[in-house]
Symmetry: C2
Subunit: 263 residues, 2 copies
DNA sequence: ACCGTTAAATGGTTAGACCTTTTCCGTTCG
DNA sequence: CGAACGGAAAAGGTCTAACCATTTAACGGT
């Protein structure tokens, strides 16, 4: 964690474009773009940083909060404000999509369709690029599914990890992030579906088909297998959903930068 | 615009989960989810709303700012704070993706690939579902491209509108939003490419191929035509890009909820 | 009746103070 | 000598109060 007490922080230009807090946001973003602030870095204390930028602390906080809302910064009381650590797969906040779903009345069919399109894309890419290690991981998760046919919750864990492994093997972190973003919203729904534990064996089989297509480096087969799997999953969900649930219930408090999830 | 001075606003629970401002965010989101706040509505003045929720104005402002950062609310000094109008195609803020690109060092190849995957998906769906009107719109834009082969900027306008028409015809607003999100980031790049105006005629031809495949309701052909078009566009861009531009330059000030863009 | 001026409404900013949580260091006890 | 406890310092979270800037709309004069 590089401590950055240099004179990186230029004072806000008086002839600023928009509002002061917008300028603060621009400044912080520029620091990130330039690489002055890197993932995991801790920002200077708010009081100091405010002085450096020549703004008041509430204004600085407004800017920090905006960036925190989009998942770039993270503040921990007593500890400090950090640039979000980019350890695992980068993850976009799904709450914007969630709100948009409510605002525009997105149907769950659209959600499923979007997820299907993204998963098909990553499956196709994974078939082209997956390394031996990545394929081994997928295989292990498939095996895990077969090993937990009588334990729905454990099955779901392997299910999610398999899809993440596929996404990782695609080599495209943007598609992976978008996929996770959509999948996160559908997660609560999925828990219910898996709980009913109807066709775990069939589901595991379909995952294996995906894995085999990827192993054979056959993009088209991988796409089709993934498509079939998700169509089946959607049908299973629709069969369960009696209540006219709009599928956009909001459980996550705060900014839902939850774990990446995908069945 | 419904004025909502009812007792919709419940006071913040004292046994709140996280921080106070997080609770404010949850409250506001809940109002939106429940439909108490609808697109275009104006929120009560901050001073009043703060009293209603039982929090101080800075805390309320923190919550509002978080939601504004993700594109749900929009504040205009002197006028008020509004729930973002959902008139046209819903649009996700692309700045989070932009920041993530800087943070993780995304390559432009990944960006192009993600865009290609999304555009292929919507093209396929559009081929299945496009209405006569939507196809007419696409046709007009293709004609517009042919009519402006000597005017790169005008060509780009038709280009963008064509892709938006295809996205609209897909009937999936989520995929459309994600596509626009990625396309927005690549827009600046695209302007340069089009400025050089190398193969406008060829580009127009490829757009027409996409259009024809959609008109013939042939999803596979549409996907392939779109894929070919974007591969070509990417090659054109790579040929121009001499400078080691990381493709993540940040032009947009504020929260870049700009227009949706796609060639 | 129309247009310009003005006043009210509303978000934006600042200042200072205090609270809560986290971190870390020093002391003390085993 | 080391580990556990305790407290002080650090840092973010919240609040009050006031003032500034912009927008809107009402008012009044022409």
């Amino acid at each position: 964690m590089t401590d950055l007490n240099h004179d990186i922080f230029k004072t806000i230009d008086p002839d600023r474009r928009g509002t002061t807090s917008e300028e603060v946001i621009s400044q912080l973003r520029e620091m990130i773009h330039r690489g002055d602030l890197r993932p995991g870095d801790r920002l200077p204390p708010e009081r100091d940083l405010a002085k450096m930028l020549g703004v008041s602390r509430p204004t600085l906080r407004a800017g920090i909060r905006s960036l925190a809302a989009v998942g770039v910064l993270q503040s921990r009381q007593g500890a400090g404000t950090f640039v979000v650590k980019a350890d695992g797969p980068p993850s976009l906040d799904s709450s914007p999509l969630r709100l948009m779903a409510s605002l525009h009345g997105f149907t769950s069919a659209e959600m499923f369709e979007a997820r299907q399109a993204l998963e098909m894309a990553v499956a196709g890419l994974a078939a082209e690029r997956a390394t031996s290690d990545q394929m081994a991981t997928m295989s292990e998760e498939v095996a895990g599914m077969f090993a937990s046919l009588d334990d729905p919750e454990q099955f779901l864990v392997h299910d999610v990890r398999f899809h993440q492994a596929v996404a990782a093997a695609s080599g495209n972190r943007i598609l992976t992030s978008l996929m996770n973003m959509v999948a996160t919203i559908l997660f609560d729904t999925r828990i219910k579906t898996v709980k009913r534990a109807t066709d775990l064996k069939e589901s595991a089989e379909m995952h294996r088909h995906v894995y085999r297509a990827i192993r054979e480096h056959d993009p088209e087969a991988a796409r089709h297998a993934m498509s079939a799997h998700l169509s089946k999953a959607q049908k299973a969900w629709e069969a369960e959903a009696d209540e006219p649930d709009d599928s956009t219930s909001d459980n996550s408090n705060g900014n839902g930068n939850g774990a990446a999830l995908a069945p």
